[in-house]
């Protein structure tokens, strides 16, 4: 089964991917702040300690053609388990071990029905709002540079 068909079949996985995306995109500082505000201190065991490595990032020839390897990027990842055995995965571009540990904890708590709402409202939504605001600010600034050139008529 390919990843995309899995995604279509399972809204649960799609929701988790979206949460992971918000966590990966968050700055270490923003994530640390929301984590602190959450005020939870769950017990956990480290399954795979935070590890720095690389992922080879691929592009496509012409944008939509055959894949090729563009360059590597630093990635940090870690896996933890809560006391009830729920495993949390944290991974993000960059080399911030603290950030992926917190992301893994959030991922694990999100999977626990009793914590999901809290994680959504206290962590994911605030981070997503910050990210959307930043993106919209970029869009607004770029929109101000939208140009309309006039073609001169020859001989004018």
């Amino acid at each position: 089964m390919t990843a995309s068909s899995l995604k279509e079949q399972s809204p649960e996985i799609a929701a988790r991917q979206s949460a992971m995306g918000i966590l990966a995109k968050a700055s270490a500082q923003d994530l640390a702040e929301t984590w602190k505000n959450l005020g939870l201190e769950p017990n956990y065991t480290v399954i795979r300690p935070a590890e720095i490595g690389f992922v080879m990032v691929r592009g496509r020839a012409g944008g939509t053609g055959a894949p090729f390897n563009m360059c590597e990027a630093t990635v940090t990842r870690c896996v933890i388990a809560l006391d009830d055995g729920t495993t949390g995965f944290g991974q993000a571009l960059g080399r911030d071990k603290q950030k992926v540990l917190q992301a893994a904890l959030v991922d694990a708590l999100w999977q626990q029905p009793e914590h999901r709402d809290l994680i959504e409202t206290k962590v994911l939504q605030p981070l997503a709002t910050t990210q959307e605001q930043a993106e919209n600010e970029t869009r607004a600034e770029v929109a101000a540079t939208k140009v309309d050139f006039f073609t001169m008529v020859r001989g004018e």
Binding site: A24, E141, K146
Partner: protein, 371 residues
């Protein structure tokens, strides 16, 4: 053959210490922070990430600081760092159509869907040194304007594709293997995936000169900048343990679609052909040069006569890597005493033979004259 030397440790240590002191410069001036480099010299950082083939702005900034701003040395440091850590795998190909666009221009269409977005550019500046920047360097607040949020901004090449005026991207099986020059040495002829990987990490100056040569007539490609875009794309990675793709965050990339002279054959109608450029970070000159060279390297595939350096795969791909190039050129300054000694002996011997021959010839002439 190169014969190594040993010894000299103390002098080498002292030389490195001296270099570190010189690198620091005047100590009454504050030391550079990595953030200062990555925030304020982002185009240098981008070049080091592309040529070092490693996306990490902070590491590139460290490389630039450590190398005193020698960008090739900094790329070398990035390449060396790459070898110290594990590789987790390959990302899903990034989708540049879904980019958060910060700049997007086309030289071919005035009115294109999504608009011409100049973004942060040096274009249309007068290239006058700005002494106000020397004095304070405070940033102005950018203007803002209402926008329509578009998830997907169509590519210029897609627009031409609708009419069948441009060659479509080659479609291949989703599980077709992708070549990787960091794992397998390059052999010729090299397929386009390997060529693009090589060009993406190739030296900007070398590719710029080659691209320029194609414009001046050495393998004419009649290019138009169909589209250039800069912005952030998501990077997704398939996690075996989870069985699904996870997002790793966003990275900045620059992309160029070059549209080139049409050609046709008995079976295919004339249509535009394409060259492609893609690099990490913000590297507009690099992607344009890359796209020109990519197109030229397709000469054989497109049935063109190969008579220019830029169409020659082996010439281009074997010399594009500035880390390799600098290694081979700069190794000339390392001690070659033994090699040179043998050359010395050889040339002495050859000279002696030459001298003897000449003297013998002279004696013969004198003898002839005396007769």
């Amino acid at each position: 053959m190169y014969v190594a030397v040993k010894g000299g440790e103390k002098a080498i240590r002292n030389a490195h210490k001296l270099m570190a002191r010189d690198r620091r410069g005047d100590t009454s001036v504050p030391s550079l922070s990595l953030k200062q480099v990555s925030e304020q010299l982002y185009l240098s950082v981008s070049r080091v990430m592309a040529e070092g083939s490693l996306y990490d702005a902070e590491l590139a900034a460290l490389g630039i600081k450590q190398s005193r701003g020698d960008l090739i040395e900094a790329a070398f440091l990035m390449r060396a760092y790459r070898t110290t850590l594990p590789r987790f795998g390959y990302s899903k190909p990034i989708g540049t159509a879904k980019m958060l666009i910060r700049r997007r221009i086309s030289a071919t269409y005035k009115d294109l869907p999504g608009g011409q977005l100049l973004g942060p550019t040096f274009d249309y500046t007068q290239r006058l040194l700005d002494f106000k920047l020397a004095a304070d360097g405070e940033a102005p607040t950018p203007e803002v304007q209402e926008f329509e949020k578009e998830e997907v901004v169509p590519r210029v090449t897609d627009l031409l594709n609708e009419e069948g005026l441009i060659e479509p991207d080659e479609s291949i099986a989703p599980d077709a293997p992708v070549g990787d020059i960091t794992r397998e040495p390059l052999t010729f002829p090299a397929d386009r995936d390997l060529r693009l990987q090589n060009l993406a990490r190739g030296d900007e100056g070398f590719l710029l000169a080659l691209g320029y040569s194609t414009q001046r007539g050495f393998g004419r490609t009649h290019p138009f900048a169909g589209e250039i875009r800069l912005g952030e794309v998501e990077v997704d990675f398939f996690m075996e343990e989870l069985g699904f793709e996870v997002p790793l965050g966003t990275m900045t990339v620059t992309e160029c679609q070059m549209i080139n002279q049409f050609q046709g054959s008995a079976s295919a109608p004339p249509q535009f052909t394409r060259g492609y450029g893609l690099v990490p970070g913000q590297g507009e000159r690099k992607v344009m040069a890359m796209a020109l060279v990519d197109r030229s390297l397709r000469a054989e595939e497109l049935g063109e006569e190969i008579d220019s350096p830029t169409q020659d795969q082996e010439f281009v791909l074997s010399h594009s890597d500035n880390v390799q190039a600098t290694g081979f050129v700069e190794h000339l300054k390392l001690p070659h005493y033994v090699d040179f000694q043998s050359e010395l002996e050889l040339i002495r011997k050859v000279r002696k033979e030459w001298q003897e021959k000449r003297e013998a010839a002279e004696q013969e002439l004198i003898a002839e004259a005396a007769q």
